[in-house]
Amino acid sequence: MITRNSLNLTRRGFMKLGGTAAAVAASLESRRLVAMEQSLGGKDFSAVTGAERQAVPYTCLACNIEDGGVAFVENGRIVKLEGNMDHPNTRGKLCAKGNAGYLHVYDPDRIMTPLQRTGKRGEGKWKRISYDEAATILAAKLRQVIDRSEREGDPAIRNEIVFKWGRNRTGGAVSRFMHALGSNTMVNHTNICESSKKVGLEPSWGPDIESCDWANTKYIINFGSNVLETAYFMNPNAQRLVDGVVANKAKLVSFDVRLSNTAGYSDEWYAPFPGTDGAIALAMAHVIMNEGLYDADFVRDWTNVTAEQLIAHLKPYTPEFAEEESGVPARDIRRIAREFATTKPATTFSYRGPCKHLWGAYQEAAIHMLNVITGNVETKGGYCLPRGMGWPQPEPNPPAGKVPSVLAKPPLYPLASHAVSTNVPYMIMKGEAKVSVWMSYYDNPVYAYPSSHLWKDFLTDESHVPFYVSFSPYMSETTELADLIIPDVTYLERHDPESMPSGLYPCLSIRQPVIKPLGGTQEFRQTLIDVIRKVDPDEALGVRKYFAFDTVEDWMRAHFDNIPGLKEAGGWNALKEKGVWPIYGKVDQETAKLVDRNGNEVEAEYGLHRKRLSASEIADAEIDVQGTIRKNGHAIGVSINGRGHVGFGTGSRKIEIYKEGWREYGFNPMPVYKRLASREKKPDELVLTTYKVNVHTQSRTSSLKVLAELYHKNPAWMNPGTAAARDITDGDLIRVTSPLGYIVTRAHVTEGIHPEVIAISTACGHDAYGRLAQLKHREADPEYALGGDPDVTHNVWWDDKGVHPNPIIRLAVDPIGGSQGWYDTVVSVTKAEPGDMYGDVRVSTEQAMKDYDETLRYAYTGDLHRAAHKEVDVDWDNLPKPALSVGH
């Protein structure tokens, strides 16, 4: 027995014991104390009291990826946000924007009460009014239009009610509202986003986006996407891309005119000339087909072309041709094509780089084809279909308006399924459509659109827009011009149904108020209910019934309480508790993979197109010569080797590399490369491109202190050789001039940019959006903050808010996909001239109108369209007549 006396209480003894114990430390470790990260996620505690904070799940809308989040609330105040561990695609992680989003809620420059204009439009004079008064004013304006339409017996008049959004995640609320009013004039923002990507994909295989299986792939070709920082599904995609590259040793090859962080993280980066990705993709396809590296079975069974047809079509697109166009060496194109075709599984990803050009849809279709011919579609580690989930609309649901809207579905762009919102003001200014009431939601075209000054002129002019109401909670460049502001709450105080195909696990999620709307503010959905009740107070119009929800929450219940599976799990209440459904499993702390109770990975489902049709589905169906199975006139699947599969969401249920619908309007039915005007620029000119950064959205986040601190100025990236040729050095004041006019900014001289490109980021140079975005506090008063905002006063150490490039970017519309050609503006760049001041912007509205006329020449009825598509076998004199069709 050891007694106290027997202990050797000397330092030497202690140390010896310590040394010995250290050797076996692992087995002595406390089993009660675990590494902090292992307990992180889903819980949080007050730093002051130690009490557990209330955790409320929600869906992020700081940007459009719709990640799952959890808000931690203490004393009724949001104190922190983090990713929802139950969301299968977010897996507990938010990006910087998502983390900072709660600052939107408490921003002193947030609009928290309805404001009615008292001065001239845009003068900044307001009177505060109540939500009820505001709803009354709007309802009266809407009712005037409806009454006139009734009086004159002309339902088309109702289309003078316009609803324009930049971001509409209301799950059908806006359509319900507009259809109840009898208007089809809903104008989205998609053509300034990725619409030509969507239109390149939809006729090819159905959906408008791909969902790469990044984590399980071995080879990725990234065309013009900055997926680690921005791009679609950025946060989930970035996580899985890192999983793929780090854990699965996948190779990443990036094509981007600029060394983005994604390009920098890649194994290989190539900077092609802007708008030539399509030539590279076609050349790769040329190599793969001609060298027999293609998946013959897949091409034969699942596409509407033969290998021989493809080889013939791709003949001119040699790697040497692509090198000539893009500047990327033919030997590299050849090698990458071979690697891509022989490394399994592999996938491409593409975003705005290729598609934001005139004819961007061709480029996307060409990139898509690489996955098809290599048989990587819907394979584990390959290029998969997106997986989303739907939810029903509460009944009764109003029918669409009676008359198609020329603004929502412009007849000159019949293939642009996501419309052409950039053209709307031009069409109205030219008298092609009329507006009585203009409503806007999450929309800031006066900042975010090409030739943004044109929008300012348009919205300022009461002869074009007699009444304008904004639902924005922020005083953006556009909302400043409103007659009435009925502020929505922020995304953390609001209800919305959600489902985003941001990963391979389909799920539903929700937004719910994580705190009561601050200061008695009112969510947009309630405003819609109130307005409709005032438009139809006695139910004489018969539209009140579409908004017969006692509360906004009842509206949500009507969406979610009866979905099979979810209903049994608790419906809306289950979603309120977890924020997402279904719950697939847990995030493994070691691997970050989703695992089930036994620790086994929850496998995603692959091969969706191969799902078999049931006997009852096939009964009475017919199979055509191409193998398409049709029932009651609808294609329901495709027959392969005598078996019926569901196939893809196209007319033939196969992947349609050949698009007959394109040919009808004189476009090439196959993926082709068309040389852009910018490719013919003079040697001393540059192509202006823009890009997003990892801590900002296009426009909304500049008011968030922690994000603005990270990124607030946007000097123009220029290659050293390009700069030297103009005697420009890093930091110099420069003039960037397009046919629209010029801006004065500064140069950032870097090797990380194509020598014939100048790149300027978005998110800077605001003229509105609160005092932080504008750095107003400094201009007005150096001594102290005007509004007494201590953080603004003291932690704002920067005095440069950047310069916004959009005023000099020309309108240029892809005649197929409808996308704005953001990267087609040719500029000259010089040192600033005497008298030039940083931030100067001088632009012409007249030139913007000329650009509109010019871009219409590329539409399918235009002379330049015909000149550029001589190869197309179509009766040019008898193209379909421009026709109205019901959009939305």
Binding site: A47, K80, I111, G124, L786, P790
Partner: protein, 261 residues
């Protein structure tokens, strides 16, 4: 009231400090109660001016019963404007109220914004606690209104003074003293550190004479009372706080954690 005087130089002592009247040999409860009533009226007036827009009823008071007293302290309404077109006066003050205190870019009238840079922070809790202790609840009339609004807080000081007067009216000196302590504490702790400085800032930016005058009056009343209440050291501290470019948020443990640092 000298409107050209931009800096505050409060005199020692003053008629608004009703407890001083209580100790005056000639006073007694009646005089102290009267002083408290006057104090209540003054703060309620200031609160009303800043809490919401001038409406027809308030304008009638301004141009009617309150007019002589206002004129005496130099707050002179523009007769021609008020009398010829009350509606225009109401519209122009409403517009100014919105620009100065409500719309984005306003001089936010909330202590939370002044102290923390954001709406609805801990100063709100402190204001709510004080209201509750006194048996009151804050209820907004328009959206976007919070308990730590300078106008509401000034009105609360007036309300406390009124309770004090009431207690004196029924000779309950213990209760009266309790109300006095509450009032003084609230004034010193929740308005003292920022409200006079805020008034100065808002006045500089006000474009409407009515608000310039009201803000100057409020600032001076506050300084006057604060000086009477605070000892020398505390008063110096208040002067410093009101001069301050407000506190710096240089470390936020939660943000670091959320960022994974």
């Amino acid at each position: 009231m000298d409107l050209s005087q931009n800096t505050v130089s409060p005199a020692r002592g003053g008629a608004t400090k009703c407890e001083e009247a209580a100790v005056s040999p000639a006073g007694g409860h009646g005089a102290r109660a009267a002083e408290c009533d006057a104090l209540a009226g003054l703060y309620r007036f200031l609160g009303r001016c800043l809490e919401e827009e001038v409406d027809a009823d308030f304008l009638a008071l301004l141009t009617g019963p309150l007019r002589p007293a206002l004129t005496e302290i130099g707050l002179v309404l523009d007769d021609s404007l008020v009398q010829s077109d009350a509606a225009a006066f109401l519209a122009s003050t409403a517009e100014e109220f919105t620009a100065l205190f409500v719309a984005p870019g306003a001089v936010s009238p909330y202590r939370s914004v002044f102290e923390k840079g954001r709406n609805f922070q801990e100063p709100c809790d402190e204001a709510i606690a004080a209201y509750r202790q006194a048996g009151l609840e804050f209820q907004n009339r328009y959206s976007g209104e919070f308990p730590d609004h300078v106008g509401v807080m000034l009105g609360f000081v007036g309300w406390l003074a009124e309770r004090e007067a009431e207690s004196l009216g029924v000779a309950d000196e213990v209760a009266a003293d309790a109300w006095r302590v509450r009032r003084e504490t609230f004034l010193l702790e929740q308005l003292g550190p920022w409200a006079p400085g805020w008034c100065r800032r808002a006045r500089i930016l006000a474009q409407h004479a009515f608000y310039r005058q009201v803000l100057e009056l409020t600032e001076r009343v506050l300084w006057h009372d604060l000086q009477a209440l605070a000892d020398r050291r505390r008063f110096k501290e208040l002067e410093r706080l009101n001069r301050r470019a407000p506190v710096r948020l240089d470390y936020d443990a939660d943000f670091r954690k959320a960022s994974g640092l």
